[in-house]
């Protein structure tokens, strides 16, 4: 079942969108696939109540950052697949750089004085 609840990290607000965009930057996935990817790649540190993906996906879709298409999954079930759009790729780039700046700034503050 993975890490205990106390060890799981809550997401910083607003980062869910960024994670989704990043996940879709290299592949086309359906909702479950995105949830699984984030869980695995983060070694289960980042937990998302899986359902909360769907409002986020809808929002990103309405903003034109991702697009979706119905297709068939591995076991021949109908599933909705999401992909990144050009605008989404641009936004991902912006988010990555501002996130990196944020992390660096926090690290600098936390670094012991020399």
């Amino acid at each position: 079942m993975g890490l205990k609840k106390s060890e799981r990290q809550e997401l910083l607000p607003g980062t869910l969108d960024m994670l989704i965009l990043k996940t879709l930057s290299r592949q086309v996935l359906h909702g479950y696939g995105i949830a699984e990817h984030i869980r695995q790649v983060s070694s289960e540190v980042l937990t998302v109540e899986e359902g909360s993906l769907y409002p986020a996906l809808q929002r990103l879709q309405l903003q034109g950052l991702i697009a979706s298409e119905w297709g068939h999954s591995v076991n021949n079930r109908r599933a909705r697949y999401y992909r990144l759009t050009a605008a989404g790729r641009r936004r991902l780039g912006e988010s990555e750089s501002s996130f990196a700046r944020l992390v660096e700034a926090i690290a600098r503050v936390m670094k012991p004085a020399t």
Binding site: M1, H30, G31, Y32, A35, E36, E49, E50, G51, S52, Y54, P55, Q58, R59, L62, Q63, G64, W70, S73, R77, R78, A79, R80, A87
Partner: protein, 795 residues
């Protein structure tokens, strides 16, 4: 760029709402797929299938909440889209304030005008019908003599009521001026005397107390009165405690039985009170000769007007056979609505047409203005559409702007209309029924018409630019300069609008000009009396005085009043008269010249209009003497009966020869007249000698022809003369207007302390009243065409 992206987001959201249902089912499918996958994976890892299902749900979270949150994303808050459009529209308006102001003003005027007219039409026509139950079945019953209609006599009314089968009920009424006294000055009130079943027939219930019960038609049981709501509020402060108390009318105590609501009375008259129509046993008017009763009736369910008319015709012929007095008299029902509302309806129809034109012009004007502004934004719009903004989106935005303007103008317009309608009843002509009593409220009918008008304007104004603004072709390459492909179409539309506007304005202007000219013609018509410095006052007489049995005492009373009136400072001449100029009225009398060939039958005896005068009244009125002399103090009871005629009568009966010295009779020849009349006159009718001819004095409205008028001295009114009622007006040659009244009352206190004075009107007021309808029409239409011209010029 961000702006464009916002645009696309909004349009996507818009479309999402439209496909809401499909999205719901798709989401459900997605979620079930996710849960299924998670369950499978857990089972693969070795979990028990049932536990796996539960765990999958737990990991997912609350499905219902998730669905709601997702729905929120696509569920459009319309306010967001509209708020954005509104902000955009406001920004546009601020950028071109002049256009905005003109547009809003145009719309305000248009909507205000149509709301006002709707309010008036509503108050006078639609609400009239709403007041009575099944108003389509209410009719007037007129007596007819060849082409004329007459009010029937009390005896005829009773006969019709008894004999006619076509009606559920037949009621009668007449008007009476009564003196209502409490402590202090006696007050004169207008009363309507009605048969007890009147309000039941109309279908109006009292707002307080009870109505008439039935026995009141009998003399002795008739001393009950119903107050009108207006009178109740004015005089008693709407106090319910007055019910059951008594009120003294003409010296007789009446019990206050109830209060009738405002707007009860169907004609333009505004009675303060309602008394029962009852006749004293010796009342000389209660006969077959006095035509002073109005009769209304309610058609029986299923009976047509034509069959009722046929029955009335038969009844009239039966009465003719039974009573000589009814010779030549027929009977005819006329729908009440047609009789009362017919003429005002036509006036209002014209005004409504004019208002629609004005509204159209305002819309066209504003649409044109917006079109000009759209043309200036061609470039911007071309760029926008070439980048992918949907046509629908752009069109919607332009339409919203139009609706915003319409809304702004409309709200202001309704406010202006509300303020105007409050003061309007005092200015309107009196022939619009009941408006002065009920006011002109803005009720749901008026509001809905206003709203429809506003929305209509908004659509028209918004749709026009949207149609042209949306017709942009996408450019294949942004490197080319954007082509303004709709420019030509726009220019054509604009010139079309201008032409339409000018055409409509011209129509209005022509209409107004015609009306103004006809009004000017009416105004310049010769009155035949003095046009300034003339004051008239009504001196209503109590019943004992106006009956002919008391003629001598009444004459003495009137003499005293006239004499005292002359002593009031500022009065150059004053005397008693029976009818004042431009106020209509007149007593219809038979007329024939002694010595000329008498008419062959009663029906063929011609009629003229009778007036009773004091010696000085014609002079005071400013009438011009053409031949002979005016009346003098020597023309009194006992001296030779004299008469003066007007030019119209002189021409009609004497051609070019001199009427002075001829002898005339104001009844049909004795051998043709009803025996009752001859008996009442003591065997033979009075013969009058003409002593003078005056130039025509106008009593009827300027649009109607002059009547043949004969004047006799009121002092020579005797029982035998069969002159009808005593004169009730005082006419004064003075430059002081109605302010004279207190001084007059003071002087009269010595000889007539209980005499009420009513309705002081100067000749200018009378002239205005008689022209009433025409003046309003001309004014209104001129106003509208001025507005239209202004709008057209500005646009």
């Amino acid at each position: 760029m961000a702006f464009l992206r916002k645009l696309r987001t909004i349009s996507r959201r818009l479309l999402a709402v439209l496909r809401r249902h499909r999205l719901e089912t798709e989401l459900a499918e997605e979620i079930s797929h996710h849960l299924d996958q998670r369950r499978r994976q857990l089972v693969d890892e070795g979990m028990d299938p049932r536990d796996a299902a539960v765990e999958a749900r737990r990991m997912f979270g609350n499905v219902t909440v998730i669905r709601e949150e997702t729905r929120d994303m696509w569920s459009i808050r319309w306010a967001e889209i509209i708020a954005q459009d509104l902000r955009y529209g406001l920004r546009l308006m601020r950028r071109s304030p002049l256009v905005t102001v003109i547009a809003v003003v145009s719309l305000t005027v248009g909507i205000a005008a149509s709301t006002i007219v709707t309010g008036v039409v509503n108050a006078s026509l639609w609400r009239w019908s709403a007041m009575y139950s099944e108003p389509g079945r209410l009719v007037f019953l007129w007596q007819t003599r060849e082409a004329d209609i007459l009010t029937p006599t009390p005896a005829d009314f009773r006969d019709w009521r008894g004999m006619a089968k076509s009606f559920d009920s037949v009621e009668a009424y007449t008007y009476r001026a009564m003196t209502f006294s409490t402590s202090g000055d006696p007050e004169q009130v207008q009363a309507a005397a009605v048969t007890p079943g009147m309000f039941g027939t109309l279908g109006v219930a009292p707002v307080a107390g009870a109505g008439f019960l039935g026995p009141e038609e009998t003399w002795g049981r008739h001393t009950r009165v119903l107050l009108s709501e207006g009178f109740w509020r004015r005089r008693f402060g709407a106090d319910r405690a007055v019910l059951g108390r008594t009120l003294t009318l003409d010296g007789v105590p009446h019990e206050i039985a109830g209060v009738m609501p405002a707007g009860t009375w169907f004609s333009a008259a505004r009675p303060d009170l309602f008394v029962p129509l009852a006749f004293a046993p010796d009342d000389p008017a209660n006969n077959r000769n006095s035509h002073f009763i109005w009769v209304i009736a309610r058609l029986h369910d299923g009976v047509t007007l034509d069959s009722a008319a046929a029955e009335m015709g038969i009844i009239a012929r039966q009465l003719e056979a039974q009573h000589p007095a009814n010779k030549g008299l027929g009977a005819r029902p006329v729908p009440m609505a047609e009789h009362i509302l017919g003429e005002p309806s036509r006036t209002l129809a014209v005004v409504a047409g004019a208002v629609t034109l004005v509204l159209l012009i305002a819309c066209v004007n504003v649409a044109g203005l917006l079109l000009v502004r759209t043309a200036a934004r061609n470039r911007e719009l071309a760029v926008r559409t070439s980048l992918g903004a949907s046509r629908l989106r752009v069109a919607l935005q332009l339409a919203t702007e139009g609706v915003m303007l319409a809304f702004a103008g409309g709200t202001l317009g309704v406010a202006v209309a509300a303020a105007t309608l409050r003061t309007l009843p005092t200015v309107l002509p009196a022939n619009l029924p009941r408006i002065a009593e009920t006011g002109i409220p803005i009720d749901w009918r008026v509001m809905s018409v206003a709203i429809v008008a506003i929305l209509g304007c908004g659509l028209v104004i918004g749709a026009l630019p949207a149609f042209t603004g949306g017709r942009w072709r996408r450019e294949r390459s942004m490197k080319e300069a954007p082509r303004w492909s709709s420019g030509a179409a726009q220019a054509r539309l604009r010139s079309g609008l201008i032409t339409a506007e000018i055409a409509l304005s011209v129509v209005l202007v022509i209409g107004a000009a015609l009306l103004v000219r006809s009004f000017a013609n009416l105004q310049s018509v010769d009155v035949g009396a003095r046009t300034t410095d003339l004051l008239t006052v009504r001196i209503p007489l109590p019943p004992e005085r106006w009956r002919a049995t008391n003629a001598a005492a009444t004459s003495a009373y009137l003499d005293a009043i006239a004499e005292r009136a002359r002593t009031v400072p500022g009065v150059l001449a004053a005397d008693i008269t029976s009818h004042v100029p431009l106020a209509g009225g007149g007593q219809s009398k038979h007329f024939y010249v002694v010595g000329q060939t008498p008419p062959a039958s009663y029906q063929e005896v011609p009629t003229v209009s009778l007036r009773q005068e004091g010696p000085d009244s014609l002079r005071a009125m400013g009438a011009t003497l053409a031949r002979g002399r005016f009346f003098a103090g020597t023309d009194r009871a006992g001296s030779h009966p004299v008469a003066i005629v007007n030019q119209t009568l002189a021409r009609r009966f004497f051609g070019v020869s001199n009427p002075v010295g001829q002898v005339v009779c104001l009844q049909a020849p004795e051998h043709l007249s009803p025996p009752d009349n001859v008996r009442a006159a003591g065997g033979s009718f009075v013969r009058w000698t003409i002593v003078g001819v005056v130039e025509d004095v106008r009593y009827t409205p300027p649009s109607e022809p002059m009547e043949a008028v004969v004047y006799v001295p009121y002092r020579q009114r005797t029982r035998q003369a069969l002159m009808g009622w005593a004169p009730e007006y005082l006419v004064l040659h003075t430059s002081v207007g109605p302010d004279l009244l207190p001084a007059l009352r003071e002087r009269l206190r010595e000889v007539a302390p209980a005499q009420p004075l009513a309705a002081p009107r100067t000749i200018e007021m009378l002239a205005a009243d008689s022209l009433g309808g025409a003046r309003v029409m001309a004014l209104v239409l001129s106003l509208f065409s001025a507005v239209a011209l202004f709008l057209a010029g500005v646009g």
